[in-house]
Amino acid sequence: MQYAVLAPFLTALVVPFLFRYIRAIHTGWLILPIPFGIFTYFLSQLTNISEGHNQHSMVQWVPSLGMNFSFYLDGLSLLFSLLISGIGTLVVLYSIFYLDKNEKLHNFYVFLYIFMGAMLGVVLSDNIYALYLFWELTSISSFLLIGYWYERQASRYGALKSMIITVLGGLSMLGGLILLSIITGTTSIREMIAASDTVLESPYFTGILVLILLGAFTKSAQFPFHIWLPDAMEAPTPVSAFLHSATMVKAGIYLTARLFLLFGGTDIFFVLVTGFGLLTLCWGSYMAVRQTDLKAILAFSTISQLGMIMTMLGFGTKEAAFAAVFHIFNHATFKGSLFMVAGIVDHETGTRDIRRLGGLMTLMPISATLAFFGAFSMAGVPLPIFNGFLSKEMFFKTSLDLETTSTLAASIAPFVPALAVFGSIFTFVYSMYFFFHTFTGKTRGELKVKPHEAPIGMLISPIVLVLFVIIVGLLPNMINEPILTPATAAIYGELPDKHIVFWHGFFEPALYMSMIVVALGVILFLTRTKWQSVYNWIPGVLSANKTYDYLYNMQFRVSEKTTRTYMTGSIRHYMLYILIFIIGATGVTLFVTDGFVIDTSDLAPISWPEVAVGLVMAIAAIATILMKNRIAAILVLGIVGYGLSLLFVFFRAPDLALTQLIVETVTVALFLLCFYHLPKLDTKKQPVGAKTLNIIVSVSVGVLVTLVAIASHSSKKFETIAHYFIEESHHLGGGNNVVNVILVDMRGLDTLFEITVLGLAALGIYAMIRLRDKEEME
């Protein structure tokens, strides 16, 4: 099983070489056998799975962190794997005729096969980290595929938008999954489901559910995250057919279905999933009628149908789970074929604008027939040849049965069928609009190319899909036993006892609902031009797209504004941030921890000469600030330094006094040497506010230093190690000057690097003066 996931990735590796060295044959032909092989492999598993023998295989990745490529094949993942590999094969076949040999095929097939492998990984993974890895790979490959024609601005916009929204959801899903794995102590989804009770009792349950559903909703384009899907239609049509109708957008559905056993049946799951599903169903179908681009109609239709499947998953009954599975299958068939037909129309007429199309029935009879089956199946027209009708009828029926289920579901049950019918009416309208406006009537506007039927190769894939529409419509039980029943069992945990019958009987309310849909749909379709203006009222300003654009632009504005506010470029401001933080952090810590103590017992006696020197130094330091003359400032600064060396004398530090004296002299000399070249002191007054702030900050720093010094002096905790140096200086170091012995003997490393510092400073100064001068001379 792991080879089925690996194969597309390996193919993606060799595609560029095939494209480069085998130019005579379209690259698509060379790699077509891969998805077909995977498809047959999964077909061969059908009997195994329907007999209940689920497959499991594992490849270790980071076992110490519980990350493994652990694959699990049950009914649900088999259904999805078949869809992915089957439709994948058809899409590759279709793309061979759709994309010219001169296109960037190496890019296209690499992205497509990465996607295919990632998608198989998503549906087969049992390990949450592997699931997330593949999940993000689908986002990335989808991003690359949408931006396939990267020279177009709309492609780039669509790609970025889909990336931002799906990755946002993916990250929140990761959060939810990690929480789940912490609570249950396992990284395997099956073991999590087995530990369902722990999760249900956990206080984080609601949070986990919301986080994971956010991932599922963004991926499956649920309201209000649906906005990326219509923009993703900038991708080549095979991509739209594969990713944005049949597979990737169902990843969210898959995740919800997969975790149904963990979350399903709770009130909050019902409210969130059914609520957003219904909203998406109605909004998507309502908005689809407004579109003028064939692919945009199909995009909103996909949104709406995904909403319908979500709604059914939310119901939480066995019948609803079965209906959801059935509709996943049906939607993949008819929507895939419709996208391919839209691509054919685009390819053969040069436009996808429905306002310029019309009357193609006689010119493209086969495409028209295919579109007829696709669109009528999507609309749920009650005839036994359309599989869409069967699943929609089940949808109505399960929505009516809600009254008999759990308390919360039952209390709002009456509204659900009404909303379902509302959404379905619009579904009917846009399906009719899609078909009749494209293929009947007269041609509107001039077309660039003279329309003609597509080559047979392009038609094979939609024909195969439409055959499925018809066969499943006629003989629904054919796929019931091998595919639908095991999938439902995987979602719901027990086997459904369902035999699909066409028409539930003449006295079933679900049938009347279908009749209402058709009747009202026909009326609305025929009077379409009269009520079109309603779209100016709703969505109007409520459009989620406008919100997205606003938020997207606002984050740039806000972050730029924020950055400009504090990154002023002024070193004074940065100094202030640092100092104020030091004052705040140190001051608060000092007083919160009762760190300030005063202990006067261990102080040296005050002697007045030292106090006098200190006083002079303090005055000189303050005078340095006030001086308006360069030389005066330098000399006053010198007083502080000489005062310090005097203090060193008083405090019995002869070496220090000596060094300080010399260094101070050299520094003053340096200042005096330099001052001729330096500008006059800036006597311009600073604004009063800035000056006050400077004073406050600097005084606070000084006070804080004093307080910390006193506090630390008063709370000496350990004896000094001075006696060791004094005792051992002569004995070990062979010297009587203890300070010098420490410097060169006991802590000689300090001295080594201090010398290095001095050397570096000298080199730096030399470099600054000499090298720049040379540059200037040249």
């Binding site: 002024s570 203090l647 405090f651 260094v663 340096l670 000094t720």
Partner: protein, 112 residues
């Protein structure tokens, strides 16, 4: 005595920080010089003042002042001297190149 010296170190810090917050590069260099004086004084004070003789071993003397802070300060003096002279030359170069040593004018443009 230690308390008085702590206060003096505080004053040196205040004056140094105030100079750091000025616009002129030269004043900022002055500020760093004052700050290092303050720090040296602080280290010495923390090692306790006026306890015994200078740390040069002689027969018959038992009490010496703590030699370790002195060694530390000695290292620090040399390093701060190196940094101060480097900064000074840097200020000189900056002034030569830019014709100003006002930090407000040395901000650079928005897009570099």
């Amino acid at each position: 005595m230690e308390i008085i010296m702590s206060i003096l170190a505080g004053i040196l810090f205040s004056a140094g920080v105030y100079l750091l917050l000025q616009r002129q590069l030269l004043k900022i260099v002055f500020g760093t010089a004052l700050l290092s004086h303050g720090a040296h004084l602080l280290i010495l004070t923390m090692g306790k003042l006026n306890r015994g003789a200078p740390p040069i071993l002689e027969e018959g003397i038992k009490d010496y002042t703590d030699p370790l802070p002195q060694a530390l300060i000695l290292t620090s003096i040399v390093i701060s001297f190196g940094v101060t002279s480097f900064l000074l030359v840097l200020a000189y170069r900056a002034y030569r190149t830019n014709k100003t040593d006002n930090m407000e004018q040395l901000r650079g443009s928005d897009h570099d």
